[in-house]
C-alpha cells in the first residue's frame, strides 16, 4: 500500500541527481529526490572552487525558463521546486514491480531534530558535551554530537550524530523551540537477545547493553534462542556463528523465517568473516568481529535501535528510477598506507585540501601546516593514489584528479598570501576535456606550477622538522630528494558506498570495478528496464559530463513516463473550505483594480511572542494604516488548527494582500501555494515575514533586551506589511511556443537527439548536409570494446527514417534563421536550391566534426604513412596484409595539444590502442610502437592500455618540444626519436606509420553567425557555461550535442544527443509559455531609448525594435535579474513587483518605531 505516487525516483541529490530531477520537474513530472545524507549537493557541497572560473556556479543549473516554479536559491543551500519532493537522510530500501509501476520502499533515518522547528540558533551545540570529527571538513575540524551537517543549508537544521551522542539530554532541555526529542524511555521496550555458547561473552554483552538501558535476555544455544523467540517479541538478536549443534547461520535462517522483522547481527571471529558476509545476504543486518569492545558494539546497537524505533519508512510508487549515487573515494590509509596518510599530519587528500583552502573550512581559507601551524610554502600533489593501480584493483583512471590537482595547485598559488611552490607528480597529465589543455598550460606557464612526470613510491617524514620527504626520479633519470610542507594525495574514486546494496535491491549487474553496468552505446541505460543511472554511478565523470549524463538519463526516464502516459500533477490537497464555486477558469482573482486590502496574521508561537511584544500595541499601530483591514493573532500558525484559523480569517476579510508574521518563511512556501488555491489569490501577493528571528537570536545570545527584540519583531512585520502593500498583481500573458525542434546534422548525436525528441511526441526537422545519414559512423567499424558499430548505425538510421515525426532534409543546409527561443523561423535549402520555411521552438546543433588533415610526419609523401581513420578503413576493407605490417609506428597528438589546436581530441588514444591490438591479433609477431605524449585513457578505457601493453605493444613517450622525426628517404620509412627514459636515440624502420591527427569541428563561421552564437577558441560550440550548462548555447533555445560540442566517442555522442533533446524538450513541452512573474517590462512612454538596458542585460534578452522604435524584451530570455531596472534612470525599465516605491517604503518601514 503506497501513500504517494511519483513519476520518478532519483536516488542521490548530488549534481547529477539535481540535474535529472530538475529536468523531469520542468516537464511536469513529479519527482522524489532522495539522499542518504542530511544535506543535498553531494560532493560538490564541499568544493568551493571549480575551474576554470574558480567559482561555484551550481545555481546555474536552476531553470531559466519556468523559474518561478522553483525558488532561485543557491543550490548548495536547498532546492525548492514545486514538482520535487526532496527527502534527506533517506535511502532506497526495497524496489519491486516493473517500469511504470515500481513499488519503492524508502527508509528515512531520524535526525532527532525536527527541521520544521529548529531555528539553527545553536544553543544545543553550545551545551553538547560530545565532540567528533567533522565530516564536512573531512575530519580537519570537529563538531559536537548535535551539529549542522553543512554550514549553509536552508533550512539549516541541526542533526544528531547518534553514534556520538551520549543522550545527556542537555540539548533537549535548552532548545527554545522544542525541536529536539531525545527520549530514551523507550529503550526499556527494546528487547535484545544475546546468543552465544560462551557465558563470559553473554555476560559482558548483557552488562554493556543494560548500561545503555536496553532490556537484554540471553541464550546459550540456537535451540534455546528459538524457544525464547517463541515466548517473547525481540527486536534484535546478537548471535555467535560458531556454536555447537546449531550454527548461528542456521539460527539466522530459522529465526528470519518465523520472524521476518527481527533484526539479527552476527558475531564472528576473523576466520569466518566470509560466512558473516554471506549471512548478510540472507538477511543479517550486520556483523561484529570478535573480540570487540563496547565502543564497537554499543553504537551499532544504538543505530539499529534508532533505525527500528524511529525510522519513518515510506512506500511510494514510481514509473522509473534514476540512480545518481555518485562515487566514494579510495582510502589512502589502506593496509599498506605508503603515503603515511593519517600518520603524517601534513598529508591530505584532495578533498581535505579543498576544505583547507575554503573560506568555510577549518582554516578559514588560510594555508598552514597542520603540525606546527606555519604557513605552507611548498606543496606536492601526488597523482594516481588508488587509480591506475592494479595492486589496488584499480585498472582504471579516475578521470577527474588531474584537473582537480591542477586547479588545487593554481588555487594554492592564487589564494595563499605567502608565495607557495607547487609540484604535481604525475604519470600522464589527462587533460582530455574541453579547455583542459589550455588550463594546464596556463597553470604551468602563467602560474608557475611545476609538473614532474614521475610516480611517487612513498612518503616519509623528517622527524625533526616534520617536513615531508619525497624521493623520485627526475626527468634526467636521477633520483632526487625534495622536501615539502604538505602533500596532497589525488585519491582515486571507488563505487559509491551503497552501490553494491542498490545493485542487489534493483537486481543490477556491476562491472569489473563495482560500478553499475550499462547497455552497449549508453552510459545511462542499465540492463534493467525502467532503471537508469546518471553521473559517476556508471563510471567516473567530471561536472560537465555528469550534468550531461543526468539530462540524458532524465530523457530516457521521461520516455518511460510518457509511454505510461501519466504525468502526475502536484496534488492540490486542500479544497476551498467555503465551497465557493468557481465562476471562471482563471486560477486566481483579478485584483488589479481593487484598492489594497492587506491582512496581517501574526503567529504568537504559543504566546512566546507576547513576552516581548505587546499585541495590542501592534494592533493599534497597524489599525491606523487605511490599507490594513485586519491584524489577527494566531496561536500557532505551523499547526493544522492554526493554519485553518489563518485561512478562515483571510477568506472572511476578502483580503487581496496577505502578510503572515511567523518563523521560517521557507516552511510556508508550499502552504502559501495551497492557500493561494483556497482563497484564489495569486501567491505573489502573499508573503511571510520572519518575526521570530530576533527573538531566537536574543535567546541564543542571552541578550534579552526587550526593547531591541520588540523593535526587531516590529521592523520585520512593518517592513513586510509595507512591502506587501506595494506589491502589484502581475498577470503575464502567455506566449506561444512552436513545439518542434530543428536538428542540424545527421550523425549519431543528431539522430539520437532527433529520435529522443520525436519519441517524446514532438516534431523534428533534421538537416543533413550530405546524402547519407550517420556521419563518422559510416567509416568507424568497432568500439574499443570490440563491439561492432554497424548495427547501432543501421538501427538508428532505420528508426530515424521510419519515425513519423522526423522530417529529414538530405543534402540540405540552413540558409536563413530568425526569431528567438520558442519561435525560430528557419529556411532550409536543398541541392536543387529548393527552399522550405520551417518554425521551431528549439534548435539542436549536431554538425559533428572530422579527422583533421595534416602535412606533418611526411604524410602525403609515402603511401605507408596514413591517418588513424585511413587505417581503420583499410583494416575493415582488408587492404592491409598483416604479414607486411611487421613494424607499425603510431604517432599520437599530431598537430594536437599544441599551437592553434591546443586541445585533446580524446578519442585518438583509445583508437590507437584499438588498432594496435587489432594489428597484434592479426599478426602477433608484429612490432607495434605507439609514440605518445600523455596517454588519454580516462575511465575504464585505461584497462585497454594495460591490455595493449600486456599484448606486447611498445609505448614510448615524447614531449611537445621533441617530436619524433619521420624520414622517407630511399623508399624506406624510418621513425627516429630520443627515447626520453633512456635518453638514447631510437630508430625504427617502419612498414606503416599511423598518425593520430585529432578531430576538428564541422561548424562553419557562416552557420555560427546565422544562428547568432559564438564559437569557442578552437571553433567548437561555445556553451553558456562549461560545467553547469554544458549543452546550452548562450542564446536561449539553442543546444548542441556530439562532436561539435567537443571530441567524444560514439557512445558519449549519443548520450549528449539524449541530453540535448531533454534540454530542448523542457523548452517546447507546452504549447504556450506563461512568462515568469519576475520579468522586466518597458514603459515605452517614459523610455528615452538610451539603450543602456540593452548593453546591461546579461542574458541578451533585450533588443531595439527598429520597426516600432522601442525597446523589446524576449520573455523567455529575461531572467528578471533587474539589471536593466537598476541602470534605467527614470524607471522606464521596471521589474513589476519591485517598484522603487515598494523598496523605499520597505526600507522606511524598517526604521519605524513602535510606540506603545
Amino acid at each position: 500500500m503506497s501513500d504517494q505516487k511519483y513519476n520518478a525516483l532519483v536516488v542521490g541529490a548530488g549534481i547529477s541527481g539535481i540535474r535529472a530531477a530538475l529536468d523531469l520537474a520542468q516537464q511536469d513530472c513529479r519527482v522524489a529526490l532522495i539522499d542518504k545524507s542530511p544535506a543535498m549537493g553531494g560532493l560538490l557541497n564541499q568544493l568551493d572552487f571549480q575551474f576554470p572560473s574558480t567559482h561555484c556556479g551550481m545555481c546555474k543549473m536552476l531553470p531559466l525558463v519556468h523559474r518561478d516554479r522553483s525558488s532561485q536559491f543557491c543550490l548548495r543551500k536547498g532546492l525548492f521546486h514545486e514538482n520535487i519532493d526532496l527527502m534527506l537522510s533517506t535511502e532506497l530500501s526495497d524496489l519491486a514491480g516493473e517500469p511504470g509501476n515500481f513499488a519503492v520502499k524508502l527508509h528515512q533515518r531520524p535526525t532527532w531534530v525536527d527541521p520544521g522547528r529548529c531555528v539553527g540558533c545553536g544553543l544545543c551545540e553550545s551545551v553538547c558535551p560530545e565532540t567528533v570529527p567533522d565530516c564536512f571538513n573531512e575530519g580537519l575540524s570537529s563538531h559536537k554530537a548535535i551539529y549542522l551537517p553543512v554550514p549553509h543549508a536552508i533550512p539549516n537544521a541541526y542533526v544528531i550524530d547518534l553514534a556520538a551522542c551520549s543522550r545527556c539530554g542537555a540539548c533537549e532541555e535548552i532548545c527554545p523551540t522544542d525541536a529536539v526529542t531525545l527520549s530514551q524511555s523507550n529503550r526499556k521496550n527494546f528487547n535484545i537477545l544475546v546468543v552465544d555458547d560462551e557465558l563470559s561473552i553473554r555476560d559482558s554483552l548483557k552488562e554493556w547493553l543494560e548500561d545503555e538501558a536496553f532490556t537484554v535476555d540471553m541464550a546459550a544455544s540456537g535451540a534455546e534462542a528459538l524457544e525464547k523467540l517463541k515466548a517473547q517479541t525481540y527486536q534484535l538478536m546478537l548471535t555467535d556463528i560458531k556454536m555447537p549443534e546449531m550454527s548461528g547461520t542456521a539460527l539466522l535462517q530459522k529465526a528470519k523465517q518465523a520472524y521476518p522483522d527481527l533484526c539479527v547481527v552476527m558475531m564472528t571471529a576473523y576466520a569466518t568473516v566470509e560466512t558473516a558476509v554471506e549471512a548478510m545476504k540472507t538477511g543479517a543486518e550486520d556483523y561484529l568481529i570478535k573480540p570487540f569492545d563496547p565502543d564497537t558494539l554499543v553504537p551499532m546497537v544504538i543505530l539499529i535501535y534508532q533505525d527500528i524505533e524511529a525510522a519513518r519508512d515510506r512506500e511510494i510508487t514510481v514509473d522509473t528510477v534514476i540512480l545518481a549515487t555518485g562515487t566514494s573515494f579510495y582510502d589512502p590509509a589502506d593496509e599498506k598506507n605508503i603515503y603515511g596518510y593519517g600518520i603524517y599530519p601534513n598529508v591530505l587528500t584532495g578533498i581535505e585540501f579543498e576544505r583547507m583552502i575554503s573560506h568555510s573550512g577549518p582554516g578559514g581559507g588560510g594555508l598552514n601546516r597542520l603540525d606546527n601551524g606555519r604557513p605552507v610554502q611548498k606543496i606536492a600533489w601526488i597523482q594516481c593514489v588508488g587509480s591506475r593501480d592494479i595492486q589496488h584493483n584499480a585498472d582504471f583512471c579516475s578521470s577527474i584528479c588531474c584537473m582537480a590537482a591542477i586547479k588545487e595547485a593554481v588555487l594554492a598559488k592564487t589564494l595563499s598570501i605567502e608565495p607557495v611552490d607547487t609540484v604535481v607528480f604525475y604519470m600522464d597529465m589527462r587533460t582530455w576535456g574541453k579547455s583542459f589543455q589550455q588550463y594546464y598550460d596556463a597553470a604551468e606557464q602563467e602560474h608557475g606550477v611545476r609538473f614532474e612526470r614521475c610516480r611517487i613510491h612513498s612518503l616519509s617524514q623528517d622527524n625533526l622538522t616534520g617536513d615531508l620527504v619525497v624521493r623520485y626520479v627526475s626527468g634526467s633519470g636521477r633520483t632526487v630528494k625534495e622536501l615539502f610542507d604538505m602533500a596532497v594525495l589525488s585519491v582515486g574514486q571507488r563505487p559509491g558506498n551503497k552501490t553494491e546494496h542498490l545493485s542487489r535491491i534493483c537486481e543490477l549487474p556491476l562491472n569489473a570495478w563495482g560500478f553499475f553496468s550499462t547497455r552497449p552505446f549508453s552510459t545511462i541505460q542499465t540492463p534493467q528496464d525502467g532503471i537508469l543511472a546518471a553521473g559517476s554511478a556508471t563510471g567516473l565523470k567530471d561536472i560537465a559530463e555528469s550534468v550531461i549524463s543526468a539530462s540524458a538519463a532524465a530523457r530516457s526516464a521521461s520516455q518511460i513516463i510518457t509511454s505510461q502516459n501519466r504525468h502526475i500533477k502536484p496534488p492540490v490537497k486542500e479544497m476551498p473550505d467555503d465551497q465557493t464555486t468557481k465562476t471562471d477558469n482563471a486560477p486566481f482573482r483579478d485584483v488589479s483594480r481593487e484598492p489594497v486590502v492587506l491582512f496581517v496574521g501574526v503567529c504568537t508561537c504559543s504566546g512566546r511572542l507576547n513576552q516581548w511584544v505587546d499585541p495590542d500595541a501592534l494592533a493599534r499601530y497597524f489599525s491606523m494604516d487605511p490599507d490594513i483591514i485586519r491584524v489577527a493573532f494566531i496561536n500557532q500558525a505551523c499547526t493544522a488548527d492554526g493554519w485553518q484559523q489563518m485561512k478562515k480569517e483571510i477568506s472572511d476579510c476578502l483580503a487581496n494582500r496577505v502578510l503572515i508574521g511567523a518563523c521560517h518563511p521557507y516552511v510556508f512556501l508550499k502552504k502559501i501555494r495551497e492557500l493561494a488555491q483556497t482563497v484564489r489569490l495569486d501567491p505573489s501577493l502573499m508573503d511571510v515575514a520572519d518575526i521570530m528571528a530576533p527573538v531566537f537570536r536574543a535567546v541564543a545570545e542571552e541578550k534579552k533586551d526587550i526593547q531591541a527584540i520588540c523593535t526587531g519583531v516590529f521592523s520585520a512585520l512593518n517592513s513586510g506589511a509595507e512591502s506587501m502593500k506595494r506589491m502589484e498583481p502581475i498577470n503575464p500573458q502567455p506566449i506561444p511556443i512552436a513545439q518542434k525542434t530543428l536538428v542540424i546534422g545527421g550523425g549519431i548525436a543528431g539522430m539520437t537527439a532527433a529520435l529522443a525528441v520525436a519519441d517524446a511526441g514532438y516534431g523534428v526537422d533534421l538537416i543533413e548536409k550530405s546524402d547519407r545519414l550517420g556521419g563518422n559512423l559510416n567509416w568507424l567499424h568497432q568500439t574499443i570494446e570490440g563491439v561492432s558499430l554497424k548495427d547501432f548505425l543501421t538501427d538508428t538510421v532505420d528508426a530515424v527514417e521510419k519515425h513519423p515525426l522526423v522530417n529529414i532534409f538530405m543534402s540540405s543546409r540552413l540558409i536563413s534563421f530568425e526569431g528567438s527561443a520558442g519561435q525560430f523561423y528557419s529556411t532550409i535549402e536543398n541541392e536543387e536550391k529548393k527552399a522550405v520555411d520551417v518554425t521551431h521552438g528549439a534548435v539542436i546543433l549536431a554538425t559533428g566534426g572530422h579527422e583533421a588533415k595534416t602535412a606533418a610526419f611526411g604524410y602525403g609523401t609515402h603511401e605507408a604513412i596514413v591517418t588513424q581513420k585511413e587505417l581503420e578503413i583499410r583494416l575493415a576493407e582488408n587492404q592491409i596484409d598483416p604479414a607486411q605490417a611487421g613494424t607499425v609506428v603510431m604517432i599520437q597528438c599530431v598537430d594536437s595539444r599544441q599551437g592553434s589546436r591546443n586541445y585533446c581530441s580524446r578519442v585518438c588514444c583509445p583508437t590507437a590502442l584499438k588498432q594496435a591490438r587489432h594489428l597484434k591479433q592479426l599478426n602477433p609477431e608484429a612490432n607495434i610502437y605507439i609514440l605518445y605524449r600523455d596517454m588519454m585513457t580516462c575511465g575504464f578505457s585505461e584497462s585497454f592500455f594495460t591490455r595493449a601493453r600486456n599484448e606486447g605493444v611498445i609505448f614510448m613517450t615524447y614531449d611537445r618540444e621533441n617530436p619524433p622525426a619521420v624520414d622517407t628517404g630511399a623508399g624506406q620509412i624510418t621513425v627516429s626519436l630520443t627515447e626520453p627514459v633512456l635518453k638514447m636515440p631510437v630508430e625504427i624502420s617502419a612498414d606503416l606509420v599511423v598518425l593520430a591527427t585529432g578531430i576538428v569541428p564541422d561548424f562553419s563561421d557562416d552557420l555560427a553567425s546565422l544562428l547568432g552564437i559564438p564559437k569557442d577558441s578552437h571553433g567548437f560550440f561555445q556553451e553558456a557555461e562549461s560545467k553547469w550548462r554544458p549543452l546550452d548555447a548562450i542564446k536561449e533555445g539553442i543546444f548542441a550535442c556530439g562532436i561539435v560540442h567537443s571530441p567524444r566517442s560514439a557512445t558519449e555522442a549519443a548520450d549528449t544527443g539524449r541530453a540535448a533533446a531533454q534540454r530542448a524538450i523542457s523548452l517546447i513541452s507546452k504549447p504556450a509559455y506563461l512568462p515568469d512573474k519576475t520579468m522586466a517590462i518597458v514603459r515605452h512612454s517614459l523610455c528615452s531609448l538610451c539603450e543602456r538596458c540593452i548593453e546591461t542585460c546579461p542574458y541578451g534578452a533585450r533588443m531595439f525594435n527598429l520597426d516600432h522604435t522601442l525597446i523589446q524584451i524576449n520573455e523567455l530570455m529575461c531572467q528578471g535579474c533587474g539589471a536593466c531596472a537598476a541602470v534605467c534612470p527614470n524607471d522606464a525599465s521596471v521589474l513589476p513587483g519591485h517598484s522603487g516605491r515598494r523598496m523605499l517604503g520597505t526600507i522606511d518601514a524598517v526604521f519605524e518605531q513602535l510606540h506603545n
Partner: protein
C-alpha cells in the same frame, strides 16, 4: 594627425574673422546649417542659433562670455535622428564633452554633425552677463574676455575650476590660447571629416600647413595649473561643507524642488524625470508616518533625495559645465557638489565623461574584477 593652419585677422577683429571662417564652412555643400551662439533677430541675449543663410553670419557670436544654456542638449535634438547632410556646431569644450556622453546614451548621432570646438576663455554667469551687457555692451568688442586674465573673478566658478578649456573630440578646432588673436586665429583639422571640410575651403582663406605655435603649450600649461589650484580649493571647501549628514542636508536648505538644475543639465537626458512620474508618489498616510516618527518633517520632504538621485544618475556623465549652478534661483552651489562627486565617481571607475566616444559607460559594462574589496570576489 592634426593639420594646423592660421587665419589672418583683419582689422584686429578676431570675431569677424571667425565669422568669415564659419560662413565659408556654411557655404560648403555638405553642411546644412550652423549651430552657433549668437543674437538672432532683435534678441539682445546670446543664445544658440541655428543659421541656414550665410548672409546672417553676423548674428553669430561664438566668443561671447555668455553661456545661458549648454548646447549639447540642443545638439542632441538636432542630431538624434538621421538627416541629409550635416549640421556644423560651434561648441564649447564642455558642450562637446556633454554631447559625447549623450551620443553614448544614444541621444545624439555624431554622424550627423561637424563639431567645431573653440578654445574656451570661460563664461560669466547669465546674471552677471546680463548686468554688464545691459550697461556696457559696446565696450566688449565681440564680448571677448581678457585672455590675459583667465582668472577673472567674474567668471563662473565652473569655468574657473575647468581643466578642459581646450576642446577634445572636435572635428575642427579654433585655437585662441598662446596666439595673438588680433593677428591670427589658429585652425586645426582634427578628424578626417574635419580635415576634409577644411580642404574644401577657399584657398585664400587659409595659410599653408604649419606647426602649432610654441607659446600655445605654455599658455595651456599655465592656465591648467591655475585652474587645478582653484578646483582643488573648491573641492576641499565643498568636502568640508558636506562632511556630515546634518551638513549635507543643510547644503540643500534653500532647495525648493524647482528642478531647474535638472532642466539645465546637459546630460540629464530622461524623456520624463522620475520626479515627474508616480515613482516616488507618497500617500498622505506616509507623510503622517514620517511626521509621527520624527515629530516634525520639513516639506517638501524629498529635496535631498532629489539631488542624491541626480548625483546617482548623472555624476558619471557630469562634464562640469556649471549650468546647474547658473540656473539655481537660490544660489545653491550645486555645481561644486556635482563636480566633487563626479571627480570621485569617475576616478573610481577610471572613467572620464566626454573623454572618448568609444569608452563605454561604466554601469553598462560588467567587469568581474572591479571593486573586489567591495564585492568580495577575487
Amino acid at each position: 594627425m592634426a593639420k594646423t593652419t592660421f587665419l589672418d585677422v583683419a582689422d584686429k577683429n578676431p570675431l569677424q574673422t571667425i565669422r568669415e571662417f564659419l560662413k565659408s564652412i556654411l557655404n560648403t555643400d555638405d553642411v546644412q546649417a550652423l549651430l552657433v551662439p549668437g543674437r538672432s533677430g532683435s534678441s539682445q541675449s546670446i543664445m544658440p542659433v541655428l543659421i541656414n543663410d550665410p548672409d546672417l553670419i553676423d548674428d553669430a557670436d561664438p566668443l561671447s562670455p555668455c553661456f545661458p544654456v549648454n548646447s549639447a542638449r540642443l545638439a542632441s535634438k538636432l542630431s538624434h535622428k538621421p538627416i541629409k547632410g550635416k549640421i556644423a556646431m560651434v561648441l564649447r569644450p564642455c558642450e562637446i564633452r556633454a554631447l559625447i556622453e549623450l551620443s553614448k546614451l544614444k541621444q545624439a548621432d555624431l554622424a550627423n554633425t561637424v563639431i567645431i570646438g573653440i578654445d574656451c576663455l570661460g563664461a560669466y554667469s547669465t546674471k552677471y552677463w546680463a548686468q554688464i551687457n545691459a550697461t556696457d555692451a559696446d565696450s566688449l568688442p565681440g564680448g571677448l574676455p581678457d585672455p590675459g586674465n583667465p582668472n577673472d573673478p567674474h567668471l563662473a566658478a565652473a569655468c574657473r575650476a575647468c581643466e578642459h578649456f581646450v576642446p577634445e573630440n572636435a572635428d575642427i578646432l579654433i585655437g585662441l590660447f598662446g596666439i595673438n588673436t588680433t593677428e591670427k586665429i589658429m585652425i586645426q583639422g582634427i578628424t578626417d571629416a574635419g580635415m576634409a571640410l577644411l580642404k574644401n575651403l577657399p584657398q585664400e582663406m587659409v595659410e599653408e600647413t604649419s606647426e602649432e605655435p610654441v607659446a600655445r603649450e605654455k599658455a595651456v600649461t599655465d592656465l591648467l595649473a591655475s585652474r587645478i589650484e582653484y578646483r582643488d580649493t573648491m573641492f576641499e571647501t565643498t568636502r568640508q561643507a558636506i562632511d556630515s549628514h546634518e551638513k549635507f542636508v543643510r547644503y540643500f536648505d534653500r532647495c525648493i524642488n524647482c528642478y531647474n538644475c535638472r532642466v539645465a543639465c546637459p546630460v540629464c537626458y530622461c524623456k520624463e524625470c522620475v520626479f515627474n512620474t508616480d515613482v516616488f508618489d507618497h500617500d498622505p498616510y506616509q507623510y503622517l508616518q514620517w511626521a509621527r516618527r520624527k515629530g516634525a518633517v520639513k516639506l517638501p520632504a524629498d529635496t535631498v533625495f532629489y539631488h542624491m538621485t541626480r548625483v546617482a544618475h548623472m555624476s558619471l556623465s557630469c562634464v562640469g559645465c556649471g549650468q546647474c549652478s547658473n540656473v539655481c534661483p537660490n544660489d545653491i552651489p550645486v555645481m561644486e557638489l556635482f563636480r566633487l562627486t563626479a571627480a570621485d565617481v569617475q576616478h573610481a571607475f577610471e572613467y572620464e565623461a566626454g573623454r572618448d566616444k568609444e569608452e563605454p559607460l561604466p554601469l553598462s559594462v560588467f567587469k568581474e574584477d572591479e571593486f573586489t574589496d567591495v564585492v568580495g570576489i577575487g
